[in-house]
Amino acid sequence: MLDKFGFATPEQVASRFFTEEVLKKPKAILECYEDIPCNPCVTSCPTGAITIGPDINKQPVLDPDKCTGCAVCVGACPGLAIMVAQIKEDRAWFKIPHEFLPHPAKNELWDAAGRDGRLIGVAKIEGVVLSPKTKTAIVTVSIEKAQLLRFATVVTKHA
């Protein structure tokens, strides 16, 4: 699936998520499914929660006990392959990287897409942090909890 179409299978995605209990607090979801030579997630993490090991071609592993959900890795990952997920009551909250202009603005509603690009619903923009240094905006969005494992990104402002 990933090799042929460019998006991960639901099983692959589920393997990178944590239980609802753990996700009461924000945790990084590392969607790096391929051995490529890369390690900025490890070197950027302020709490040492991400490990790759001596061979930087290996995939990163997150220690959810150490991860604070700060999202520094979201802006550091060159593959834009990290999001932070959290469950707050009946909503799933995410911090995602965004590199298109115009960036969303707080309180706007945006159409949300799954990993295959299909629209899955409407997400609310809860906050936007622009980083002049990385030039990748970190957008906080919420969507109904049922979309926890499907949500990938926001694509256009909801008409």
Binding site: G6, D35, P37, T43, S44, G79
Partner: protein, 365 residues
């Protein structure tokens, strides 16, 4: 004839790192580049780099160019730069012919680092000479160097990292990417790059290629076709895409023409992108004192080009009598970094290519 110590051909990631390493060692360096601006392909790369901090990971390509150029500036007394200076000939006695400002200039070098990069491969299909059929490098140059939007709707041919990255950049520039077609049954580039595009709704069509461009004076449509496991078009599977550009990103081949002209040994090694020079572990060609680094030595990522450049610059400077104070340590660090970058499934291909190159080299001895 102008006499120079070390001449570096090409001011991209490999050439700049070679010049910096040689100047750190104490050598005088002349960088020759055919462009108006140094940085090579780095200045067109808007994505963050992979690799480790040693290769400026998570920094965007054009920012890496700025870092390297400011490092070059600190050696203003040692590094001389000629831009819009195209090397058109290289002779076995290390004489170069450079064209600059409409004049032919001859340079006698004591040592040379060839960091000329690579050229794009192209694809034969009907009407591929229509305006609107671009190489990916041209699209990047228009968008990211000159700020010109190359088209409104593009069909991307090739799903290697360049095809994927340029598709993403086109979308950032407001251009619609109709689809990415890939003749192989699998996506060629990093899946994280593919996923960035897939989640934005762009279909990646594997086992599919472009059959022809349609249009009288410019591209109006592209016809694609599915391929069977033997890569033969399957009749009846054609589909038509309304696009005003077709971007061809089907790989690169090392620019070895200068080396071949001077008589350096090259060999056809598909894993390295085509004809590649036969090199020692110090990146010296079969011509004494002529070193090669970056894509000219075998097509790979810019991360490894920078490390190879550093290695070649250090070794060339040592040959000229300027051994770096920490020569042995830095050289083994460079080899360790290259081994690290090439340790994964993508690096395997490069390692296989290098193994073939060494076989040719050892056989020739």
């Amino acid at each position: 004839m102008i006499a120079k110590e070390l001449v570096v051909i090409g001011g991209g990631p490999a050439g700049l790192c070679a010049a910096i390493a040689a100047a750190e060692s104490g050598s005088r360096v002349l960088i020759l580049d055919r462009s108006a601006r140094l940085g090579g392909q780095l200045i067109k790369q808007t994505h963050k780099f992979f690799g480790s901090e040693n290769q400026y990971a998570k920094t965007r390509g054009f920012d890496i160019a700025k870092i390297l150029l400011s490092r070059v500036d600190t050696f203003a007394d040692l590094i001389e730069i000629w831009v819009e200076a195209t090397v058109v000939a290289l002779y076995p006695d290390k004489v170069l012919t450079v064209v600059q400002d409409g004049k032919y200039i001859k340079i006698q070098a004591k040592a040379i680092v060839v960091a000329a990069g690579a050229s794009e491969k192209f694809l034969a299909f009907e009407n591929n000479d229509l305006p609107g059929v671009y190489g990916a490098g041209a699209v990047q140059t228009l968008m990211n160097v000159y700020g010109v939007r190359p088209a409104d709707r593009v069909l991307m041919v090739g799903s290697g990292n360049i095809g994927l990255i340029v598709s993403y950049q086109l979308m950032q520039a407001g251009v619609k990417v109709a689809a990415i077609v890939e003749a192989a049954p699998r996506i060629g580039g990093y899946k994280v790059h593919a996923s960035k595009i897939a989640r934005l709704g762009v279909p990646i069509l594997t086992s599919t290629t472009v059959l022809r461009a349609v249009g009288e004076t410019c591209v109006k449509q592209a016809v694609t076709v599915k391929l069977d496991p033997a890569w033969k078009p399957i009749p009846g599977t054609e589909s038509v895409h309304d696009v005003d550009a077709i971007c061809v990103a089907v790989g690169l081949t090392p620019l070895t023409s200068l080396l071949a002209m001077a008589g350096a040994m090259t060999s056809y090694i598909p894993e390295l992108g085509g004809y590649a020079p036969i090199l020692t572990d110090e990146h010296e060609s079969t011509l004494a004192d002529v070193f090669v680094a970056g894509d000219a030595a075998g097509v790979e990522e810019a991360s490894s080009a920078m490390v190879e450049g550093r290695l070649a610059g250090l070794c060339a400077a040592k040959r000229l009598g300027y051994p770096h104070a920490d020569f042995d340590d830095i050289v083994s660090e460079c080899h360790a970094q290259l081994a690290g970058l090439r340790n994964g499934p993508f690096g395997c291909k490069t390692c296989a290519g290098i193994a073939k190159m060494r076989e040719v080299r050892d056989h020739a001895r």
